[in-house]
Subunit: 190 residues, 2 copies
Amino acid sequence: MTELEQYIKSYFGVVNADDLTTIVSLFNLTTIKKGDFLLKAGRRCDNLSFVQSGLLRMFISTDEKEITQWISTKGYFSTDLSSFVFETPSRLSIQALTDTEVYSITKADYKKIGELVPKWHELEKLFIVRCFIILEERIFSHLSMTAEERYDYFFENNRELFNQVPLQYIASMLGMTPETFSRIRKKQLL
Amino acid sequence: MTELEQYIKSYFGVVNADDLTTIVSLFNLTTIKKGDFLLKAGRRCDNLSFVQSGLLRMFISTDEKEITQWISTKGYFSTDLSSFVFETPSRLSIQALTDTEVYSITKADYKKIGELVPKWHELEKLFIVRCFIILEERIFSHLSMTAEERYDYFFENNRELFNQVPLQYIASMLGMTPETFSRIRKKQLL
DNA sequence: TTTTGCTCTTGACAAAAATCAAGAAATCAT
DNA sequence: ATGATTTCTTGATTTTTGTCAAGAGCAAAA
């Protein structure tokens, strides 16, 4: 069983082995060079991508700055959900922070899964509910925690990331400036 | 067509009129008195409720304070999604801010909808995707805006709410103290 | 009406976080 | 390896937001 199969199984709980093989066959492995874009804001996001190796940064550009929304590591799915589902122009850009291997599926092929696997929509629903809950949690962290508490919490759960990506992106993702991030970091190292 | 039918149609886009009638028949209208709880944290949330009239406040209690997560007005669905879907104890409490009429459906009856209406899981998925996108938007507001900007944005889109609920709850929902809220408010009135 | 709670406002002050600017450290490309 | 970028740190300062405390305004209850 490939890693993609394992991840799909653990996220969606697909039972039938044949279905799983069919689903995975609709994905294509591609490599994105460091700095290249998997998606540029304004375009329609026609892909759902699974990170096999490497790192992807999702961000939104405003007049003044880029806001990093999330960094996807191995095992994450990455897409602009709004654009992918409703076929609207995306607000997000997705850029590779290192050479990154992704398994991608087009919207057209993704639709086929729903036709092939009767239970798919239900499994998908449960998957999205889990994503929703993670976002709720994240909102709560902004309503109830200081920058330092958010740092600590994130650090405990994502240590690996801290020596793999530019820290400014993590700072942005946590809703603080690089300077504040750096000062909190210093404090925690003592 | 009842209002509940209309809202379900607009949120889920159910086509068949018979299906719609069946779905709505699974909901029960009840009234919650001002101050009473629709859900208490720690219990399992066995209901999905649709606000017909009145106001519900969803909040999470921490050691020091209550964090208002959301205020549901007429036309909103309200539940602890995590608890409702995965049948875990809820973190949220839901309390009526005024006498409130809700159409409620139990988890058991909700499951029946999926059996009765073949396309239901797909429609439900699309509904949850829309909810997901709203949360993404909200996170973005915390990553990129000041308290004042969040106030302005929320005020523009929810003026009605400002003279219907204690302002401290809106303040909490926007991630600021009542004092900060009050000062921003004063500024905007001039 | 008067009392009793809330809720909201205001001021003074403290703490947290942002900004600006400069320099150090790390990384990349040649 | 060397120079050029980019990223990170640090200090000084300002702005934003939170805390504490007191009082005003309102609304519900007696």
